[in-house]
Amino acid sequence: MSRLIPTEEYNKKPLTRLSRWIKGETDPFSESMEVKKHSDNHPDEKLVRRHKREREVVIEQVYDRSHNRVYKTFNVLFKIVAVLCCLALIAILLVAVSHLPPVGATDNPASNEVVEKYVEDGLQDTGAVNIVTGMILDYRAFDTFGESNVLFIATCTVLLLLHVNKKDHKDLMEEEKSERFFEPKDDSILQKITFWLFPIIVIFGIYVILNGHISPGGGFSGGAIIGAGLILYSNAFGFKKLNRFFTEKTYRYVSFGSLLFYCLAKSYSFYTGANHIESVIPLGTPGAILSSGFILPLNICVGLVVACTMYAFYTLFRKGGF
């Protein structure tokens, strides 16, 4: 209590609010944030117990556990054999590892002319300062193309398994409304932080992708950063806001476009390479952002595919659609 200013004005002062918040007298988020009571999440104990009991009964009836000797011996035998197999595999692999060449020795078989060529001529051949990027996107680009197709096909399979067709399941629309049932809505701490962090994350991701051939990084790591940013954004602001700029269509066309470009660009360089035709793609000055031929656009493609895949996995597991 102050004697110099009236009580109402005193209560509005930031320091007073801070001290009252510390003492626990008020909660500044009580009106701006929706807080769910925790008890709502508790599953119905009776239901859980009934499910457990039913499961027991089913197993009992199917296998007749108390009288079935074969089932019992099988169960015991299965455990013993499983443990033995695992132990045997562990032992075999440990023996193999103990006989392998020592790590880091200079006369290892692995340090041969191939590695030498990568390290010494990498810059000249690919134009990429970052030798790792030069290796995965130029020397061994076919493997990396396969790898980005692994991501693509993984998303397709998850889409096949988890995609919920809204027209077929009208009752799921109800669930959609309570989609954020287990989480507080409009968490202002999360929103404020995401507001500042999201652009930084995305810009950093773009930086990592664009500089993939100059500094450590590249499509896979940069794409993972952008994907994480998208997931953070959808957590803070909800799917509705994210859908304003990222829908299923966006996902489909972005991944289609980048994989198609990858396929065509690499087909060109494979074809010219195998038939000994000079490639017309200039390598540029090493170290400049526009250099090293196809590596920069390919990094962008890989980055887009990885970001889309990460977000698509998240949203499909979360609510079965975009």
Partner: protein
């Protein structure tokens, strides 16, 4: 370099390209693109096959990019590779045609294009496994292959399929993991990922006698990994559900192509990476031989006890995979030739059996149990003939493909210098009898007439050729492929022999 030598690269890229394009197409157009792509790839492979069979190049390498062999990726093609690619394309196309009706019913409109993406990428991965000359590329495409196969099993999305997919995934990923560890250790020992370079180093290591133990373990876990993935006997528990409950095309593709792709890679590893003499000298082949023999017996025994026609055919696959591994396990060139021929004949026959079995079950009200299947061959005559031909081929009746492969196995066994001769011949005979028991039992049942009153009571319908033209044409083409393999076997065997020589 002749232009035709670009075919391996074209066919892999074309199938991946159409997989990518399918992602934005509606289901119908994805299907048309898929059919078109497979026909084009088959035509290209046939062109390469004709070129390789007539020229005296033997085999050639194809650099994927501007950097030659050990630095960059590389493909390698010969007559056997081109022929297998052609065969895989034909079987894939026929399996998809034969199961199309079912597949339109069982897969929702939205998921149609996803299904064809999986098919296209599966074909690309099989082609890559056939053509690649680089172990790590092989591993990357095995990943695609595994995920695509999982998707194909799961696409029907009922309880059985989901469970089968989980089983498949667990076993298959165990196999992939072992293979990957094997490749890592091999790289550590030799410093290369390219098959021909690894072979040079392996020969040096074997001659010098250093690193003998890790080398043996490496070969062992790579072999076991690929054996798990192709469902060799003790690792077959996922087979019946995966082949039996998925949609027909998936079952046919999985049993005739996916497992064969891994076996083809294993043969390539034996010849090009480790060296066949080294492999034949190690005891790993004996293990494959014994498990192959066990698979031949136990797969057939399980099939006899089965009351569900599609699961029965799936169990018979286990037995046939056993045959192939037994052939590899003999450790002679004759045995490998027999194994490769059986790979082809089983691929052609098993997909025919799956497709025609579905025609039979559809004519029996969708029931797969034997009591309902009585007389089914009269209700759907095309499917009946298809099943008859398939069964005869599996049992080993002359004129059909299965006879030639059994003959080759027996021939290879008789020429053996060691203890493996008698077990092979005895188990071959026993297994043939067991095959005959369950296949001929089914054939007799489907050709047993049923009274019309009973049929009317159960509400089974007859299906004529005109109602199912695509299905009928598919069955006829399957039968033609089978007869070609069965009657024109000599030139095919010679080509296989020539191809295996080029492997080295």
């Amino acid at each position: 370099m002749a232009f035709v030598q670009n075919v391996p690269f074209f066919s892999i890229m074309l199938s991946m390209f159409s997989g990518i394009v399918s992602s934005i197409l509606p289901g119908k157009w994805a299907r048309r693109l898929n059919t078109f792509m497979i026909i084009v790839v088959a035509a290209l492979s046939a062109w390469l096959f004709a070129f390789m069979a007539t020229s005296d190049i033997g085999s050639y390498t194809y650099a994927m990019g501007h950097f030659p062999a050990p630095i960059g990726n590389e493909l390698r093609a010969g007559v056997l590779e081109a022929g297998t690619a052609l065969f895989f394309c034909i079987i894939m196309l026929l399996s998809l045609w034969g199961g199309r009706e079912k597949q339109i019913l069982e897969i929702t409109e939205r998921q149609q294009n996803l299904y064809y993406i999986l098919c296209n990428l599966l074909l690309s991965s099989l082609l890559a496994l056939i053509y690649t000359n680089d172990l790590f590329t092989a591993y990357v495409f095995i990943e695609i292959n595994t995920i695509a196969a999982g998707g194909l099993i799961m696409v029907r999305q009922n309880g059985h399929c989901i469970e089968a997919t989980i089983r498949y995934m667990i076993m298959s990923l165990l196999g992939s993991g072992l293979l990957l560890m094997g490749i890592c250790m091999l790289y550590d020992l030799t410093g290369h990922l390219l098959m021909s370079n690894i072979k040079e180093q392996v020969d040096i290591i074997m001659a010098a006698g250093t690193y003998r133990i890790p080398m043996l373990i490496t070969i062992g876990i790579m072999t076991v990994g690929l054996a798990i993935k192709s469902a060799l006997f003790p690792f077959h528990s996922w087979v019946p559900d995966a082949y039996g409950y998925s949609t027909v095309s998936s079952g046919a593709i999985l049993s005739s192509l996916v497992s064969k792709g891994y076996i083809f890679l294993l043969i390539k590893i034996f010849y090009r990476v480790i060296g066949f003499d080294t492999i034949a000298g190690s005891h790993i082949l004996n293990i494959l031989f014994i498990f192959g023999l066990c698979g031949m017996i136990f797969g057939s025994v399980s099939a006899i006890g089965e009351n569900d026609i599609r699961r029965m055919i799936a169990f018979s696959s286990v037995a046939q995979i056993g045959y192939i591994y037994m052939g590899l396990g003999l450790g002679t060139e004759m045995g490998v030739i027999a194994a490769v021929f059986h790979l082809l004949s089983h691929g052609a026959t098993k997909s025919l059996l799956f497709v025609s079995a579905v025609g039979l079950t559809d004519a029996s009200g969708g029931s797969r149990h034997f009591t309902d299947l009585t007389g089914a061959a009269f209700r759907n005559k095309t499917a009946g003939v298809g099943f008859l031909v398939g069964s005869f081929s599996m049992v080993g009746i002359p004129v059909f493909a299965g006879f030639v492969s059994k003959l080759l196995f027996a021939e290879a066994a008789v020429l053996l210098p060691n203890w493996k001769m008698f077990p092979t011949l005895i188990v071959l005979a026993v297994s043939t009898v067991l095959n005959a028991i369950y296949f001929l039992k089914t054939v007799i049942r489907i050709y047993t007439p049923v009274k019309p009153e009973v049929l009317a009571e159960k509400g089974f319908e007859c299906k004529h050729f005109k109602q199912q033209v695509l299905f009928g044409v598919t069955i006829v083409l399957f039968i033609i492929v089978n007869l070609i393999l069965g009657m024109k076997s000599q030139p095919i065997i010679e080509l296989i022999e020539q191809g295996l020589h080029n492997f080295m």
